[in-house]
């Protein structure tokens, strides 16, 4: 079976994901197109059965039959030669479809080969092929086709070849781009590392990923070919021995259908052409959507006000250790992702913490623990499907969850700002960094003079350690570390009180990471910022943070001061995580891992979310979700049955 399955699967190339057929089924546009196309094909195939008359013979037709109105004998009337329009219409479908499919086939094969060869081999070969393609693209198709057909025999075969031989250019360009994109992907490198040669790579790696695009493009090319044939026939250049819709239009127009008022002779073939091209366009559109599913729930919609349920009796972590005022107070926050056909994904449940002025809190957790969802919710930047279903977000005693979109837009950035994950790649590449920082300022602060904005930008750049001269440079002229500094500058543009840093150093080298961390610490001290540092790196947290909130599966596992978390953790997840984290001060220590995987948010276990992987789990853990137990008079919170007093 292994050998057979590596063969090309052209018809299922686009359906490598098992659910693709069902997706196509659900896609109404594509389905409509497909049905329309199938209807046309059925008509063409069964023409001899469906057509009431044979359009080739002129038996029994007299001159009085010309341009007869539609009647029971002729459902669509008769044409200029007295023949039944409906029969001609039905037989006409054959020619359109045949020319369309075959001509398109030729185009696709030529375009596909040129595209793959150019994209894969590159260099001079690519240059030659693509310049040739460009030249062909520049020449207008239709006039060229007309000239060639006019000079040669106007037979059906000829027309198919001419249309096919001139219609490959857009396909070639498309396929080349896709080939280039696939060629640079890591699994192609891996195939080379295994020892695969060019042909193997093209066959097994490039083609399966180019095919879906080719299929969609083919649909378009077919509809273009059909249009071109119809145009040619309409202009009188078609094969006179076959009936096509274009021919019907040609005869009708040329032989006075308009003046005779014989609208049926024009409407029928016109309708046929429209039907088929529409069918193909809809099908193509539907296929495109299947291949690039864009999640409809992604755009930012103004959040509905939170449903205030009875406040769950969680314990807010009032910490007596910090005398400074509380800036951000999160109380029992719960966030669910709501979707139509599945139960809600409980991304965050009942999380509480307090952030004091000047405090650096570490939010630790691994993939899927809900930390990014939690941070997005604080600024109401969740996608439409994410809803705050319980709890409060108190910023200086104002409840953010109860605010409208306008009110919260004021709070965003000027009071709480965020440095997003992968922010270094979030800069607009076509605008200078200075301009982008200025944009952040102008949106929030009513400064009237450009000069004041400019001054503030310089001030910010200096604050983060970027030299003045780089203000008018573009992001690509900045290094990774510099871009991250620029993002920090943007986050500070409106002098916020709270900054959320979501994995700000993840993609950076360890030395640059140290620089950025030092910068954040300095800024905190200089500006009195409170910072929430979201990360999975326990070392960084130990180095910098005052307090730590450890999340697992959407809930608080443990929340305490940094010293307590590292030296006296009570939650088994925290303990296991610490064991899994390398410690250079003890290099011989063999690292342990936590077996299993984090829970899927739409299939959460009953009881404690960590129980399936917990080495200390007992019966109760699998039945009952542990409450948030507080130790040390509220300074330390752990959600574990073993901690119960």
């Amino acid at each position: 079976m292994a050998v057979q399955t590596v063969e090309l699967k052209p018809s299922t190339g686009s359906l490598s994901r098992p659910s693709s057929w069902t997706t196509l089924g659900k896609n109404r546009i594509g389905l409509v197109g497909l049905i329309m196309l199938v209807a046309a094909v059925v008509v063409a195939v069964f023409a001899s059965v469906l057509a009431p008359y044979d359009p080739k013979t002129s038996e029994g037709i007299t001159s009085s039959d010309i341009y007869q109105r539609p009647s029971s004998a002729h459902l669509l009337g008769t044409d200029d030669a007295g023949k039944d329009v409906l029969s001609s219409f039905i037989y006409g479908s054959r020619v359109s479809l045949i020319v369309g499919f075959f001509a398109a086939f030729i185009s696709i094969v030529i375009g596909g080969i040129i595209g793959i060869v150019a994209g894969f081999y590159g260099g001079r070969l690519e240059n030659i092929l693509m310049r040739f393609t460009d030249t062909m693209l520049v020449i207008p198709d239709l006039p060229l086709i007309i000239v060639i057909v006019a000079l040669t025999k106007p037979s059906l075969l000829n027309i198919i070849f001419v249309i096919g031989l001139l219609g490959w250019t857009t396909t070639a360009r498309l396929v080349r781009s896709q080939t280039l994109a696939v060629k640079s992907r890591k699994f192609v490198l891996r195939a080379r590392a295994i020892g695969a040669g060019n042909w193997h790579i093209i066959q097994h790696h490039i083609l399966p990923l180019v095919l879906p695009l080719l299929v969609v493009n083919a649909i378009l090319v077919i509809s273009l070919a059909i249009l071109e044939e119809s145009t040619l026939s309409f202009l009188g250049l078609g094969d006179p021995t076959v009936i096509s819709w274009g021919q019907m239009l040609n005869f009708a127009f040329g032989r006075g259908a308009m003046s005779a008022g014989a609208w049926w002779a024009l409407v029928a073939p016109g309708f046929g052409i429209v039907w088929i091209v529409l069918a193909l366009t809809l099908l193509g559109h539907g296929l495109e959507q299947v291949l690039n599913p864009r999640l409809e729930s992604h755009h930012l919609m103004p959040g509905r006000p939170a449903v205030q349920q009875e406040a769950m009796l969680g314990i807010s972590a009032r910490s007596s250790r910090n005398p400074k005022p509380v800036v951000l107070d999160i109380q029992n926050l719960s966030i669910h992702y709501i979707s139509e056909d599945k139960p809600p994904a409980r991304a965050v449940e009942n999380v509480s913490f307090q952030l004091h002025e000047g405090e650096l809190m570490g939010l630790v957790g691994e993939s899927g623990c809900g930390k990014t969802t939690l941070m997005m919710a604080l600024m109401k930047l969740l996608p439409a499907a994410g809803q705050i279903v319980n709890g409060k977000v108190l910023f200086n005693n104002q409840d953010l969850t109860a605010m409208s979109e306008e009110e919260i837009a004021d709070v965003r950035w000027s009071a709480i700002s965020i440095i997003f994950q992968g922010a270094m790649n979030a800069l607009n590449p076509v605008r200078t960094v200075g301009e982008q920082i200025a944009e952040a300022i102008k949106k929030h602060v009513a400064i009237y003079h450009e000069a004041q904005v400019d001054e503030r930008v310089s001030e910010l750049l200096e604050l983060v350690g970027i030299a003045e001269e780089h203000k008018d440079h573009f992001p690509h002229q900045y290094s990774g570390g510099m871009r991250q500094r620029a993002m920090i500058a943007m986050a500070l543009a409106c002098s916020p009180q709270v900054v959320i840093a979501d994995e700000p150093t993840t993609a950076l080298d360890v030395m640059i990471q140290a620089q950025i961390l030092e910068l954040l610490d300095d800024l905190r001290k200089k500006l009195g910022l409170a910072i929430i540092f979201v990360t999975h790196d326990l070392g960084v947290v130990a180095e910098m943070c005052d307090s730590v909130l450890v999340m697992y599966g959407g809930v608080t596992a443990e929340y305490a001061s940094v010293d307590t978390i590292y030296n006296a953790p009570r939650h088994p997840y925290t303990q296991e995580l610490l064991k899994a984290f390398p410690d250079l001060s003890k290099p011989e220590k063999r690292l342990s891992s936590i077996p299993g995987y984090p829970p899927k948010l739409d299939a959460l276990p009953v009881g404690c979310r960590f129980a399936p992987r917990c080495p200390l789990a007992f019966e109760r853990c699998f039945i009952e979700m542990p409450a948030l137990h507080s130790l040390n008079g509220g300074d330390h919170i752990a959600s574990c049955h073993l901690v119960e007093n």
């Binding site: 490598s16 699994f187 891996r190 691994e366 570390g481 030092e518 940094v562 250079l584 290099p587």
Partner: protein, 332 residues
């Protein structure tokens, strides 16, 4: 670990041309990605290659694999010079040197099943044409990589597996050819902390059970603390320090190594230490500094550092560092 060398690299250089020569300027700038590297690896040994971006570690591994052509120098694998061999011979060598990549989400073709992915190397090299035998090898490779029972994984697609599982598939794909040397380029840096150890322990077990030698490229020394026998620290295309794990961790001699070790965060707030944070970034590998490449950022550079480019100097039998101030100054 025998005294038999599986890999010997001598004076290896890999330069890339920077920019393209145009009508107006003959651009002769080169990116000195790998600039004179010597390395010996014994059978069954694990060496960690540590460095930041731009140090040349990834280029070095690609050159060793033959995915990049060496500009100068020689690579001797199992006694045979493989630096400039032809494609046919290169393909044979590929059976014995395999790679594991950093990104488990991109290293696997999304349209192939796990079975197809792990079988592919066998097909490429025409090994075991008998279908049953082939399937048995694939099954064994998957189980050796920790994916048990293999049957339940064969028909799945990469997107149905987690990051850790995908990385195991990549390892299985490498194992199925029964290689002697594994080049692992940051194999765990994109995985969650709690599952990194699994993959590292897997590699450690494979070393023990199959005697595979490993070159482990990483920017995070902590993950290989107990697994690697030796460490080589790279900077701007050169190895600046090399020694056993204990040598380098407990007695680092090169200022860059000292700085690097000081900024690696230790997960204990009571051990917050003084960090040597180097300013600026790694300089452009096109325009190399004069003398010692590290001198512009070096906290203890003195005058002669600007003129003399040190080779690796012996610190002990197992330990070498390329610094003119060896054994004299430790950065505090």
């Amino acid at each position: 670990m025998s005294n038999d060398f599986i890999l010997e690299v001598k004076n290896l250089k890999k330069y890339f041309q920077a920019g393209r020569p145009s009508w107006f300027s003959l651009n002769e700038d080169y990116i000195h990605a790998v600039d004179d590297v010597d390395l010996q690896l014994r059978r069954g040994e694990v060496i960690a290659l540590v460095g930041e971006s731009g140090c040349g570690k990834s280029t070095l591994s690609l050159t060793l694999m033959g995915l990049e052509k060496a500009t100068e120098g020689s690579i001797i694998f199992e006694g045979k010079d493989i630096t400039h061999i032809d494609d046919r011979q290169r393909k044979k060598i590929r059976q014995r040197i395999q790679m594991v990549f950093q990104d488990p989400y991109e290293s696997l073709n999304p349209t192939q099943t796990i079975e197809e992915i792990v079988t592919e190397p066998l097909i490429v090299h025409g090994i075991s044409p008998n279908l049953d035998e082939r399937r048995e090898r694939v099954r064994r490779a998957l189980e050796d990589a920790g994916l048990k029972p293999a049957e339940s994984y064969l028909h799945r697609f990469p997107h149905q597996l987690s990051g850790g599982q995908r990385q195991r598939v990549v390892i299985a794909g490498a194992l199925v050819l029964e290689p002697h040397l594994l080049l692992a380029d940051e194999p765990v840096s994109m995985l969650d902390v709690s599952i990194r150890a699994e993959i590292i322990n897997l590699l450690a077990d494979l070393r023990k059970s199959r005697g595979i030698s490993v070159i482990f490229i990483t920017h995070d020394l902590g993950t290989v603390g107990y697994f690697a026998d030796r460490v080589a620290v790279m900077y701007l295309g050169r190895i600046v320090e090399i020694g056993t794990m204990t040598d380098v961790l407990k007695n680092p001699q090169h200022p860059y190594t000292q700085a690097l070790l000081s900024v690696i965060p230790v997960p204990n707030p009571r051990l917050r230490k003084k960090r040597i944070i180097l300013q600026g970034e790694t300089p452009n590998p096109i325009d190399l500094p004069s003398g010692c490449r590290f001198h512009p950022r070096c906290p203890v550079a003195i005058d002669i550092c600007k003129q003399n480019d040190p080779d690796l100097i012996r610190v002990s039998e197992t330990h070498q560092a390329a610094c003119l101030l060896l054994n004299k100054v430790t950065v505090t």
